[in-house]
């Protein structure tokens, strides 16, 4: 039986390859965003969020949130990873959460990561396939340090 299967399928697959017919491969896509896409999450803090050429920072005396809308380049439902590039002046903490909402506004899920430390760091936040849909919208909410002690420099989206 095994021999028969091998005899039957081997030439078939060989022929498929010879004819250049391969199954559709799903290519991952990457979309890079400057951190300057991030803006105040709370309306009363519009004047507290400051922009640099290399990103967004918080000039309030306390930590607060910025929201970063992400552009999708594909409509796979296999999930995505958001890479958030941050910079801390001194020992600080930044927490970021990636959200997925359907095109009808239903929240599907979220994934979070935080980092405490000094200098540059990349957060890697993976949102699994059960929390993503072909047409869901992604955004990242970050709580960033106050007193311009932290910068969101970039948010890159890797879609599977």
């Amino acid at each position: 039986m095994k021999t028969l299967t091998t005899c039957t399928l081997a030439p078939a697959f060989g022929l498929l390859i010879a004819l250049g017919f391969t199954p559709t491969a799903q290519a991952a896509t990457v979309t890079n965003h400057s951190g300057t896409i991030c803006k105040n999450y709370n309306d009363y803090e519009a004047t507290k969020i400051d922009f640099l050429a290399r990103g967004t920072q918080n000039s309030a005396a306390y930590a607060t949130q910025v929201i970063c809308p992400l552009t999708r380049a594909a409509n796979s439902s296999a999930g995505a990873t958001a890479y958030v590039d941050i910079y801390h002046y001194g020992y600080q903490t930044t927490s970021c959460t990636l959200y997925s909402y359907t095109n009808l506004g239903t929240l599907l899920g979220s994934a979070s990561q935080s980092w405490s430390g000094s200098g540059a760091r990349e957060l890697s936040i993976y949102l699994g396939s059960g929390k993503s849909a072909a047409w869901s919208d992604y955004s990242v909410l970050c709580t960033i340090p106050g007193s311009t002690n932290g910068i969101v420099m970039g948010v890159d989206l890797y879609e599977y």
């Binding site: 005899c7 039957t8 399928l9 030439p11 078939a12 060989g14 022929l15 498929l16 004819l19 017919f21 199954p23 559709t24 799903q26 290519a27 991952a28 896509t29 999450y41 949130q65 380049a73 594909a74 409509n75 796979s76 439902s77 296999a78 999930g79 990873t81 927490s95 970021c96 959460t97 959200y99 095109n103 239903t106 929240l107 599907l108 899920g109 979220s110 994934a111 979070s112 990561q113 935080s114 890697s124 993976y126 949102l127 699994g128 059960g130 929390k131 849909a133 072909a134 047409w135 909410l141 970050c142 709580t143 890797y158 599977y160």
Partner: protein
Amino acid sequence: MKLLHLALAASVASLSFGVYWSAAEHRAPPPQADRAASAGRLAPRQADAGRVNAPVAVQSAKPAVESGMAALRREMAILRAEVGALRQQVATAGGGPVDGALAKDTRHDPIAQAEAERQRQEQMAAVEANFRGEAADRSWSERTTATVQHALAGQVAIQSSLRSVECRSSTCRVELSGGNAAALDKSLPLFANRLTESLPSVTVNQVEDGAGGVTTVLYLSSEVDQPPVDGG
């Protein structure tokens, strides 16, 4: 679309088998000594003896092999034409990648939406079943429930619609219903962000309750999803 791909694959496979079968029929059997030698049944010397006779057998099989090759070439040409036609058919039917940038826009297709919702509810039933089947760890449960309550501090919209908080050993189930939906929309992301350290992964099920309201169930997990190996 999948059916079309399957039909394409099946037809190519069956045609290939036909080609292979006809080629096998035309192929001359290898000399007995070679077959035996390759099977390791003859001593090297006996195998050498077999090779002496081999050209004779090959010589006699040559016309059959040539006619077999010609038949193969003809069938290859037919197959190429058929695969080309099927490719055209797949492309015309909108058969680009199922996922990816070229996928068909199903956002305004009620049937596709209903199917997506059905699949989603199946997933959510599995998530609920997993939670119900999760072992209870009293220590973790008490500690994490306190963390959740702490994250709720100041979140008036969530507190006013909170129906239950239940933690097991790695997951907490938070049920919300009623209250100010707009305020809840604003507060939920903050709530999840506050729990980054202890419950970084959240799966949400939002269903209409039949009375014009929405019931939201959050499954907050301490376990982080792992991305596919080839990603990143």
